[in-house]
């Protein structure tokens, strides 16, 4: 079920992940909205009263499918306003929108998740899904890159995931503090440090475009087939339903045909500027 006119959601938890990243856990206020469901990789339009809407990935839901977490970086008008809200306050939500991660295609395979910056947020829903259905997937390799080691969020979760069998976590920071447990340097360098069986790996990426392009190029050099690479793209979004034209990427609407694309679908335009 998709919600096209916003409905009211109550903030029932708020976590500060870092000085400018916070997580809002939302709950439906009306009974009739419980038919709502989402696929990992999809997003919602969150509405701040009197200010406007922003696209935000859906992180996870609670056991009873009534709680939805959104991890948000405070960057501008709407996200700043959202960061000031308190538990019990109300926001609007419509969604879910877009095409999510190809979890069916990943079955039986090793899953390589490469994220940069806040791109790690949308990947949490894949990780949860894989951990919940562990028998369906092979190894899970999680690579996360940040500009500065202080930017890393979900530090505790990464530690927990790293303890699990068949899960490998590797972190990279361009600039790091002395006690940084990960690699100092580019995330693409991690690709050579982790063991990958590229004959049965499916890669899912989310992060800055430059990082995703570099990762895709490195992986294809290492002989991972291009169609085993998926990535989530980001553009200005106003409507989320393929009508406003803002998220166009050549002949696609990222809000509708994406945000998750198979690499060959977007490879050419990613190499061009201005799309």
């Amino acid at each position: 079920m998709m919600i096209d006119t916003p409905v009211a959601m109550k903030i029932i938890a708020k976590n500060e992940e870092s000085p400018d990243v916070f997580t809002l856990t939302l709950q439906f206020m009306e009974e009739k909205e419980t038919g709502y469901d989402f696929q990992p990789g999809q997003f919602n339009m969150l509405y701040l009263f009197g200010v406007g809407e922003v696209p935000i990935s859906i992180l996870a839901h609670g056991e009873d499918n009534s709680l939805y977490a959104h991890t948000i970086r405070r960057v501008g008008r709407v996200t700043q306003g959202l960061s000031l809200l308190k538990i019990g306050d109300c926001v609007g939500l419509r969604g879910p929108f877009g095409r999510g991660w190809p979890l069916d295609k990943a079955q039986g395979k090793d899953v390589l998740i490469v994220t940069g910056g806040l791109g790690c947020a949308p990947s949490v829903s894949i990780i949860h899904h894989i951990l919940k259905h562990r028998e369906r997937y092979g190894r899970l390799i999680i690579l996360q890159g940040v500009k500065h080691s202080d930017d890393l969020i979900f530090r505790k979760q990464y530690q927990e995931w790293a303890q699990l069998p068949n899960v490998q976590v590797a972190l990279a920071a361009d600039i790091s503090q002395p006690n940084w447990p990960g690699h100092t340097g580019l995330i693409t360098e991690l690709l050579d440090q982790v063991h990958l069986d590229l004959s049965k790996t499916l890669c899912m990426m989310c992060g800055p475009e430059g990082m995703m392009r570099a990762t895709a190029e490195r992986l294809t050099q290492l002989q991972l087939p291009e169609d085993a690479i998926y990535l989530s793209l980001e553009r200005n979004m106003e409507c989320a339903i393929g009508h406003c034209g803002h998220c166009q990427f050549g002949g696609t609407f990222i809000c509708k045909e994406g945000p998750v694309f198979n690499y060959p679908e977007v490879k050419f335009l990613l190499s061009q500027r201005g799309f």
Binding site: P6, F49, C239, C244, G245, G274, F275
Partner: protein
């Protein structure tokens, strides 16, 4: 069967439409251009007015011959009636406990009858239908306007200097999308019926059948409009343009046109198929409510491609490239059609007279000039 509507019956037509509950919108001269506004009387039509159009140029001229539709087009026609410059989508109210209550807003006014839609405008309407109506998601407000619209098309007798609908196969004669289609002849119009609604209206007006002379004259008039066109879209606006454009993203012409383009967005504002819009928020008086609306936007603005910390199309070159590759190229991927219907508006209303057929010709290496051109009545 074709009918004849005499000039004297135009007021009867307007009355009949009003009786059916419609607001009549028709062409009239305002501030030196032909615009569509409420039409209460036949006398308001632009009798004897011709439009002179060249790249970056639009002037009206009064002639002796008293025809009502002796012009090609003005800056706007159907688009602002269906896909409004601004339309409210929903209202939100904050109640005493701070809970938000959302309510969809639907249009609430009399249906519109549009008199004088051109063939290219109807082709553009069919394209906007694909974007907003025949999509996985429906724009309900557009749908309301669309379902309540009565369309009286008028086939062109004269082409404007920037028209190229013959090459885009979208005119000058309307082939679908109308309730009635008129062609102006001596003393009135030949009427073609396009729907049951149209037929009922013609029955009410007791129109007589058109004579053979009437219909022959109508054919001559539309043929005259076609023969007046001097411009064409290279490759006849076919799907071929898509790959030509996408394979030439580094053509030097992009840089050259960007030196002339002001990035003003006039072209997108007048184009009858452009659909870009952004969302706006207007708080209501007591501060406990707000109205969420959509408003036309343009790919030539800075904000269009803004994402936090970055403007994806930060130069005019990137914006012009987005406009042309989308309009004539990737539109095919999205809607299985070109985004251009050959109305020439973007050429006329561009302050510096950039002509997309010429830009396309430079990139495609095929001329945008009609070679077997016959002289039209407005040529000197």
């Amino acid at each position: 069967m074709l009918y004849f509507l005499a000039y004297e019956q135009i007021n009867d037509l307007l009355n009949a439409l009003r009786t059916l509950g419609y607001t009549c919108m028709g062409p009239q001269v305002q501030d030196g251009t032909i615009v569509f506004d409420e039409l209460n009387h036949a006398a308001q039509l632009p009798w004897g007015v011709h439009d002179m159009q060249k790249p970056g140029y639009y002037r009206l001229q009064q002639s002796e011959k008293k025809e009502a539709f002796a012009w090609a087009n003005g800056p706007q026609a159907i688009k602002p009636l269906l896909f409004k410059p601004k339309e409210s989508l929903w209202r939100v109210q904050k109640n005493d406990d701070g809970k938000l209550i959302f309510k969809e807003i639907m249009p609430d006014h009399k249906p519109v009858a549009l008199i004088g839609a051109r063939s290219c405008d109807l082709a553009a309407m069919a394209i906007q239908d694909k974007t907003l109506l025949k999509d996985k998601f429906i724009d309900k407000q557009y749908q309301w306007h669309r379902e309540h619209l009565f369309v009286i098309a008028v086939n062109c007798s004269y082409s404007g200097g920037n028209c190229f609908c013959v090459s885009t196969q979208t005119g000058p004669k309307a082939t679908s999308g109308y309730d009635l289609a008129l062609t102006e002849v001596d003393k009135g119009f030949v009427v073609d019926i396009g729907s049951d609604k149209g037929r009922n209206l013609i029955t009410t007006l007791k129109c007589i059948p058109a004579t053979e002379t009437n219909s022959r004259q109508a054919d001559t008039r539309t043929a005259q409009a076609a023969s007046m066109q001097t411009k064409r879209m290279p490759k006849n606006n076919s799907r071929e343009l898509r790959n030509i454009l996408m394979n030439h993203l580094d053509h030097p012409r992009w840089h050259e046109v960007a030196e002339r383009c002001l990035s003003c967005g006039n072209c997108t504002a007048v184009c009858p198929t452009c659909f870009c819009h952004h969302q706006t928020e207007t708080p209501v008086a007591q501060g406990d409510g707000s109205v969420h609306a959509r408003e036309w936007d343009s790919c030539f603005t800075q904000g269009h491609s803004y994402i936090h910390g970055q403007v994806v199309r930060d130069t005019t070159e990137k914006r012009y490239k987005q406009w042309l590759t989308h309009k004539l190229g990737t539109w095919w991927d999205q809607f299985d059609t070109s985004g251009c219907v050959g109305c020439g508006r973007c050429v006329t209303w561009c302050p510096v007279g950039i002509d997309l057929t010429e830009e396309m010709a430079a990139i495609a290496g095929e001329s945008n000039v009609v070679t077997d051109k016959k002289k039209g009545p407005h040529d000197d």
